[in-house]
């Protein structure tokens, strides 16, 4: 499948693109409980393609089990890939190993969700940073200088260097994680739910810091999150994942105001608005709980989202949804509207506007006080 695409080689301008992922698949074998035989595949990521430009932020959103973390881990090459291609700065890194991979890795870093688990409990902040700096072959004096600079960039005073992780607060630990990621001067940082385990006020500190660092250093982010509001503040474009597939991808503004896939619309509608005056029951547009029975078996020919789709009924249960799988969502060219993996993207966008009243008023969500002083 997609044979030509995989072997075609890069056709894009090499200057703009930091990361390109083509038709990425990560399948895990499902083993039978008794004989440990493979009885099927769990398709954690199933044909995801995306690209990120220099200094851009692409947000990867989806609910638990949608494959967003697996995608992120595949990109930094800590997760084995079943098929597909990952190119970094125009160079295919999918099959790199050992030394060659280690050398490319400085361009590609990661920030983790759990700031505690991502730091070795026995190593001080300085040790963590120095180690990474030494690995780049820097001289001792340069290492010292860089370490101070990194701590300053993430807003930690120099004396934090001697602290062990358990002596830091959650937010400070995450700052150390960011400093470690920046230590190699990467072109792309995969941020895997970097603020989900933090309190709102600390979350805001980290988010503004990430935005500032991007402006200063021109680093690109792949920002993985389940939280749409967080994504809204930081991303330039958004990719929505649903059970391992991209259902919609496009620029943040139009994707949030005029979603073209029913799942995206449902996700946005489900975000709490903080407004008691909004009609409550009109929020639920995904049918059925995400129980195992909810998804049709692998034999089904049609759209896999159909049995949870709110638009399916409204569109009069179209034949095509049952017969043919929807086209994949592919990153639109700049200035174009989002691409949705749906047979009826325009109809859905119109329906969403009339049927989901909350979508019409995204601004009602703001719990945002004006400047008071």
């Amino acid at each position: 499948m997609n044979g030509e695409e995989v072997h075609d080689g890069p056709t894009h301008e090499e200057t703009a693109e930091v990361l390109r992922v083509d038709d990425l698949r990560v399948w895990f074998p499902v083993l039978s409980s008794t004989l440990r035989r493979r009885v099927g595949w769990k398709k954690a990521v199933d044909g995801v393609s995306l690209s990120i430009g220099r200094g851009e932020t692409l947000a990867l959103v989806g609910e638990s089990g949608s494959g967003k973390s697996t995608t992120g881990r595949s990109i930094v090459r800590v997760q084995k890939v079943t098929s597909g291609r990952i190119s970094l700065l125009g160079e295919d890194i999918t099959d790199l190993r050992g030394r060659a991979l280690r050398e490319r890795r400085r361009h590609l870093q990661m920030i983790f969700q759990d700031p505690t688990g991502s730091l070795n409990p026995r190593r001080s902040v300085a040790q963590v940073l120095d180690e990474s700096l030494h690995a780049q072959g820097l001289s001792d004096t340069t290492v010292l200088k860089r370490r101070q600079q990194l701590l300053e960039q993430v807003g930690l005073a120099e004396y934090y260097g001697s602290k062990l992780p358990h002596q830091l607060s959650g937010g400070q630990r995450q700052r150390v994680g960011v400093a470690r990621a920046l230590s190699t001067e990467p072109s792309l940082v995969v941020c895997d739910e970097p603020v989900s385990s933090l309190d709102v006020s600390i979350q805001a500190q980290i988010l503004t810091m990430l935005a500032r660092l991007q402006a200063d250093l021109g680093v690109a982010y792949l920002f993985i999150s389940h939280d749409l509001t967080v994504v809204r503040t930081l991303a330039s474009s958004v990719a929505v994942l649903y059970s391992g597939r991209l259902v919609e991808i496009g620029p943040v503004e139009s994707l949030f105001t005029r979603p073209r896939h029913p799942y995206t619309a449902a996700l946005i509608a489900a975000v709490p608005r903080g407004n008691p005056d909004l009609p409550a029951s009109e929020r639920i547009y995904l049918r059925a709980d995400s129980s195992p029975e909810g998804s049709p078996d692998g034999q089904d020919q049609g759209c896999s989202f159909r049995c949870r789709c709110w638009a399916y009924e409204l569109l009069g249960r179209p034949e095509v949804c049952r017969q043919v799988g929807p086209p994949p969502a592919l990153q639109p060219a700049p200035g174009e509207q989002p691409s949705a993996s749906c047979h009826f993207p325009d109809e859905v966008a119109d329906l969403a506007a009339t049927e989901l009243p909350l979508l019409q008023h995204p601004s009602t969500s703001n719990l945002h006080p004006e400047e008071v002083e």
Binding site: P121, Q127, D130, A135, T184
Partner: protein, 298 residues
């Protein structure tokens, strides 16, 4: 030289922690007792032979099998040798056997286990199957075969225990490495471009230390008991070389057992207390080395 710099910061960290760890261990009263006891025995066992007036082989023909007295603190055995002197020498032998053999197998086990756990695949399969095979044969049986090909003696006993004891440690180190490998900080280390050797040395090993200390402290006890058992079976250290095992063996004779308790009780008591003390110190060390303990405040 870049390596050297980092290693020196490591060393600084470690020495800064040295006192904290000791203070933490000492804050636990039981552990403090055990620590003092072990230290006292160590001093006695290694300084004693330099200052004691008599040799463990010297026979006092005027005092055969005599109960404790001022001239013979723990009495004499049936050959007229001073029991106290022999216990001191025997403790030295047992401690040497215990610590050296455990050191050998901890090193082997940790290296094999870490490598198997970190790399997985074929390496892991080979190591794991060997471990399974070795664990399925009783150690004492293996030791018997081993000793049959070598001359019995202290070095042989150390080699037997050291070279056969590693499977359990390997299995443990492998399991811990497997779970550590999945943790975010190891993933982060891989992503920053560190080499596998470096990751294993600075990120995996330090986090295995706590477990290894417990294993080692249990191991030292077991090794000393094993030495005694081998001696008891006549496969270990041969008399007249004093070892705790050899001395306890003398109680095989029911006459000695019943009528001359001073011959077997001191070595047995030393062995039992020593095994206990080492275990207690090991436990306390593990707690003290936990990264969250600020010199044992928690």
């Amino acid at each position: 030289m870049t390596q050297a710099e980092t290693t020196s910061t490591d060393a600084k960290m470690r020495s800064r922690h040295g006192w904290d760890v000791l203070r933490a261990v000492a804050s636990n009263r039981l552990a403090l007792c055990a620590l003092v006891f072990t230290a006292a025995l160590l001093v006695l066992a290694f300084i004693g032979p330099l200052v004691l007036p008599t040799s463990p082989y010297h026979t006092d023909l005027n005092n055969l099998d005599s109960p404790p007295s001022w001239s013979h603190l723990f009495g004499t055995d049936r050959s007229g040798r001073d029991v106290f002197t022999r216990v001191v020498y025997a403790t030295r032998t047992s401690l040497t056997v215990g610590f050296t053999s455990v050191a050998i197998y901890i090193v082997i086990g940790t290296v094999l286990g870490t490598v198997a756990g970190y790399f997985g695949g074929i390496v892991d399969a080979v190591v794991s199957r060997t471990v399974d095979a070795l664990l399925s044969i009783p150690l004492l049986l293996l030791a018997t075969v081993f000793v049959a090909f070598l001359r019995p003696g202290v070095v042989t006993v150390i080699l037997v225990i050291g070279l056969l004891g590693w499977p359990a440690t390997t299995r443990l180190a492998r399991a811990e490495t497997l779970s550590l490998r999945e943790s975010d900080f190891i993933v982060a280390a891989r992503v920053t471009g560190l080499t596998p050797t470096r990751i294993m040395r600075t990120h995996v090993l330090p986090n295995l230390v706590a477990t290894l200390i417990v294993v080692a402290s249990l191991g030292v006890g077991i090794a000393m008991l094993l030495e005694a058992a081998l001696g008891f079976l006549g496969l270990g250290i041969k008399p007249p070389t004093p070892s705790l095992g050899v001395m306890i063996t003398e109680a095989k004779n029911s006459l000695v057992l019943r009528n001359s308790p001073w011959i077997w009780m001191p070595p047995s008591a030393v062995l039992a207390l020593l095994v206990m003390a080492v275990n207690v110190v090991g436990d306390a060390l593990r707690d003290a080395l936990a990264p969250t303990s600020d010199g044992g405040a928690l």
